[in-house]
């Protein structure tokens, strides 16, 4: 009992620590893990016995975590090399050149790039790649970068729910629940693409004044720049591109192939594919391995290890069971209620604190609430994935703070209040959309009714807003907007 209280205190301490001090999260988690360890050692007699170890090492939770760590390690290697080969910058710049500098197309391209990069990289890396590019391009074209920066930072998060490998919570959950790459994409990724379209339309609507302005654009500067400048070594560029694509393809084709030979899909799990790809890439790229390894995010791995330990201790002392019972009591055993509850709880929890501890705590519990066969019994996990990923955007966290900083360093002022307001609104809308999605799957008729109501409300809001603007004094700026509005929305909806 005492140990349960102390360990819970440690866990809560870890969650709220980032607000109190600037200390490194890995170190904080390690302190918590050590306190939990000594607590267990003192108060739990069976701790450290061989049977205890065996129980831990053969648990699904532990094995899944090891798989996750390997997958993360492999992807970190691949991403690191691809990044230094300049692949992402190259692709981004090529696409930007295709827009011929039209602000609207540029906006669409930047948004899709944010989602695309967010789907492959983590949020911070995609922000680091995209924001300088955005600032450079908007500066050459002499347009206001604010809409671009804000929408990119928010959409990078949506990109995090497209593939299993897009974000660390996805990796943890899919390894634990045995969700394959394809399953994930069909059930979660496709709807995320819809969320992407929806969010883009929202931003288009919100920034219509800024994006539709028909200024003269200095195209020459953009055309003159050669995208190959981002690539230090073409040989390396092709090699890493091939490996990146083939790893993604392997993720997709391995489960069906294994099924064809009637083998379990985790016979060759994603982590093995990733680490194979990483090793091949490291060997054929002939880079300095020490340098690559130094750049790999070791801190993330240590942080995860600490989290795994504390969550394991919470399981051992029965705290997780208490949370489990609490949620079961709230939902009354109804899967649909559980899904909605988990979605909103996890999103608001991961707003205030880091989403990895939240994921790690809720992950072993949520499986219990599956009672129906919707989405092959994994829908609860999907709702957890949406919650922890989208919840990131409710306030300004690491990647968004970074985006703000980078924008301000380049004298492109983006106010944090505007940023905060927008990301809060957008995320709430996204969460409502996800709720609707689950409602449509579970209770189709209710879902349809709610959907229609929502659409009507949305329609009325837009109409009201447009009317207000029409009556406003800023008439001349609005004229071109309305004419262009209709044809713009069509391509994004498709």
């Amino acid at each position: 009992m005492i140990s349960a209280i102390i360990i819970t205190a440690c866990f809560i301490g870890i969650l709220i620590f980032p607000f109190i001090s600037e200390a490194n999260r890995a170190i904080v988690v390690f302190i918590g893990a050590l306190i939990s360890f000594f607590t267990l050692l003192i108060f739990e007699p069976g701790f450290l016995s061989p049977s205890f170890f065996n129980a831990i090492f053969n648990s699904t939770f532990f094995i899944a975590n090891i798989h996750s760590l390997i997958l993360i390690l492999g992807m970190l290697f691949i991403i690191q090399i691809c990044n230094s080969a300049g692949i992402f910058q190259f692709v981004a710049f090529r696409l930007i050149q295709k827009t011929k500098g039209r602000p609207l197309f540029l906006f669409l391209v930047f948004s899709s790039l944010a989602v695309l990069l967010g789907a492959i990289l983590n949020n911070i890396t995609s922000v680091i790649i995209l924001i300088p590019l955005t600032i450079a391009v908007t500066r050459t074209l002499n347009i206001n970068p604010t809409p671009y920066i804000i929408s990119e930072a928010i959409l990078a998060n949506v990109g995090g729910v497209i593939f299993t490998i897009s974000s660390v919570p996805n990796i943890l959950i899919s390894m634990y629940a045995g969700i394959t790459f394809n399953e994930f994409f069909i059930n979660v990724g496709l709807f995320s693409l819809f969320l992407f379209g929806f969010t883009t339309i929202f931003f288009l609507f919100y920034y219509r004044g800024k994006l539709m302005s028909s200024k003269k654009i200095k195209l020459e500067n953009l055309e003159l720049f050669n995208a190959w400048n981002y690539v230090p070594n073409r040989n390396l560029f092709y090699k890493s591109l091939i490996i990146l694509l083939s790893v993604l393809i392997c993720f997709i084709i391995t489960p069906p192939i294994l099924q064809f030979f009637s083998l379990s899909p985790n016979y060759i799990s994603a982590d093995i594919i990733a680490i194979c790809g990483a090793m091949i890439l490291v060997i054929i790229s002939r880079l300095n391995v020490k340098e690559i390894i130094e750049k790999v995010d070791f801190e993330l791995m240590l942080f995860l290890l600490g989290i795994f330990f504390i969550t394991g201790a919470m399981q051992y002392t029965g705290i997780i069971d208490i949370i489990d019972n609490g949620i079961a009591f709230l939902t009354g055993g109804n899967e649909f209620v559980a899904i909605i509850l988990i979605l909103w709880i996890s999103s608001f929890l991961s707003t205030s604190v880091d989403n990895l501890p939240v994921t790690s705590t809720l992950m072993p519990i949520v499986g219990h609430f599956t009672t129906t066969a919707h989405m092959s019994g994994k829908s609860v996990y999907y709702s957890l994935i949406y919650g922890v990923n989208l919840g990131n955007n409710l306030i300004l966290k690491a990647d968004k703070v970074l985006a703000l900083k980078m924008a301000n360093q380049n004298k492109r002022t983006v106010t944090s209040s505007e940023f905060l307001k927008l990301s809060f609104i957008v995320t709430t809308l996204q969460l409502i959309a996800v709720t609707l999605y689950f409602t449509l799957i579970y209770e189709f008729i209710y879902g349809l009714i709610v959907l229609v109501i929502c659409l009507i409300i949305l329609f009325l809001l837009i109409k009201w807003r447009l009317k207000k603007e029409k009556n406003g004094f800023n008439e001349d700026a609005m004229r071109p907007l309305e004419e262009e509005k209709a044809p713009i929305e069509e391509p994004t909806q498709v």
């Binding site: 890995a26 170190i27 170890f53 090492f57 016979y267 490291v282 020490k290 070791f298 801190e299």
Partner: protein, 498 residues
């Protein structure tokens, strides 16, 4: 019939992968971490698809088979030590202590040699070989430049002493950590059996270096010594507060290793100490973590998996059985076999895989023997893997050569090779005698006496030679004045070592 064929194929694949990995590491064709991980992946696929093992096999193999998870303990201990070493190093603890000690010698060459050698032993016993070289060798060059003396004898003796430092404590180097965690040998027990004998090896080395370089160990001029004394050792310390806290924590951790009993294993002490150090020094956690040697950890994981797989498909068991049949159950013979085998293997191959493969083999060879004997087999493995390093000028020596070239000193690889080979063999013989003495004190005594006679004869001969030399080739007065006290100090020490 079919089953055995597949087993043979699996065994061939695993062994050839292991050898290929070792080859790639020795020839430096591929980074060791990448080589080990690639080998691990190949073996993983072999085990899964040909042997039909469970997918979770890699967890058992990587973290230690048989339910005692010794690899996991070793990994945590290494991680903790990496933290501690990194912090103390950036606080300048080792550099400061070394320089203070050197200043205390007041330029007396014999004292200087002793000071430099003891520093090397102590620092490498905490930092491990490579870091000790990186920290200490530049200091030696700085001192040599100030005093205008030849640094080569000092550098050579440091290089020769580093393998001894690496087995001084049970936490001194990765192979020792692996051996002690899997043998379950405590810090104090290890120190009493191995560490103390290391002191004897240390003395033997110093005496030998002294004898071979007696001409070069000359006293510096008095004004140069004054310059040395003015040199402020605090220059090596960026922040005094951090320095005191780190030094204190380092000593506290070492004391904890000694006094805290088994339920709390060294790995927990190390990682706790590491975190305490980070917290009390208010260091930037991210920076330190980025500096940690992730490559070493990845390499260890790969090697753990490969050797675990070799254990799993019973290759190691058959090698062990073969060796056991060869030595025929004679405990002394088995100890010596382990010692010399591991020494010759680790002279060519990296220490870590050698230790990892030989640990289970030692377990098999010493199976059924009394507990103390089993432990001494592990000690002989520790001696062998470390002392074998001196036999060939590979690995660490290359780093020393690079550093000395950066400081503008010539470094003859051939000369070092000769010296290292001699010292390595002397060390191994000394250890063999040590073990013989344990089992059969009469034979041991006889051997020791014989060697004592031989050594004293050689010393006497050299002494006589030196006596004659001044008549033929007059040496400068300072050189002559130095030699007499030098010789006077040699004899008692030579006797001590015997």
């Amino acid at each position: 019939m079919d089953g055995t064929l597949i087993d043979i194929i699996i065994a061939i694949v695993v062994i050839s992968t292991f050898i290929a990995v070792l080859f790639l590491i020795v020839t430096d064709k591929l980074n060791r971490a990448i080589a080990a991980l690639t080998g691990a992946i190949i073996i993983y696929f072999t085990l899964i698809f040909m042997k039909g093992d469970k997918i979770t096999i890699f967890i058992d193999l990587t973290f230690g088979t048989g339910g005692d998870y010794e690899n996991l303990h070793a990994l945590v201990l290494i991680l903790g030590m990496l933290f501690i070493v990194e912090i103390c190093l950036s606080a300048g603890v080792f550099q400061f202590i070394s320089f203070q000690l050197i200043k205390m010698t007041k330029g007396n060459p014999m004292k200087l040699l002793l000071a430099i050698c003891s520093i090397t032993l102590l620092v490498s016993s905490v930092l491990g070989g490579i870091l000790a070289i990186i920290v200490l060798i530049p200091i030696t060059f700085v001192v040599a430049r100030i005093l205008n003396i030849d640094p080569i004898p000092y550098v050579f003796s440091q290089a020769l002493l580093i393998p001894i430092g690496e087995i001084f404590f049970s936490i001194s180097s990765v192979p020792v950590i692996l051996i002690t965690t899997s043998a379950g040998v405590g810090f104090v027990e290890y120190f009493l059996n191995v560490g103390l004998f290391c002191l004897i090896l240390f003395l033997v080395t110093i005496v030998y270096v002294n004898l071979s370089y007696r001409n070069k160990l000359v006293a510096p001029k008095a004004n140069l010594v004054a310059v040395l004394m003015k040199y402020n050792a605090w220059n090596y310390v960026p922040n005094k507060g951090t320095f005191y806290r780190s030094a204190f924590a380092l000593i506290a951790i070492l004391v904890c290793f000694m006094v805290i009993p088994p339920p709390i294993t060294p790995d927990i002490i190390a990682i706790t100490g590491a975190i305490v150090l980070v917290v009390v020094n208010k260091l930037n956690g991210r920076e330190i973590i980025q500096k940690l040697d992730l490559e070493l950890l990845l390499y260890l994981l790969g090697i753990f998996f490969i050797t675990g797989a070799m254990d799993h498909i019973q290759i190691i068991e058959s090698i062990g059985q073969g060796l056991k049949d060869l030595v025929g159950g004679n405990p002394l013979l088995s100890l010596l076999t382990v010692l010399w085998l591991s020494a010759f293997l680790s002279s060519v191959i990296d220490d870590i895989p050698v230790a990892k493969v030989l640990i289970p083999i030692v377990g098999i060879i010493s199976f059924g023997q009394p507990h103390t004997l089993v432990n001494s087999s592990y000690y002989s493995l520790a001696f062998g893997t470390a002392l074998g390093d001196n036999l060939t000028p590979l690995g660490d020596t290359v780093i020393i050569k690079n550093i000395s070239e950066q400081h503008g000193y010539e470094f003859s690889m051939g000369q070092y090779f000769k010296l290292g080979l001699k010292i390595g063999v002397i060390h191994l013989i000394a250890v063999s005698i040590y073990f013989t003495f344990f089992f059969n004190s009469t034979i041991g005594l006889i051997i020791i006496l014989c060697i004592a006679i031989v050594i004293s004869l050689t010393i006497l001969l050299q002494y006589l030679n030196k006596r004659k030399k001044p008549h033929i080739q007059p040496v400068s007065e300072t050189g002559n004045a130095e030699k007499n006290p030098l010789d006077a100090q040699e004899n008692p020490e030579a006797n001590n070592s015997i």
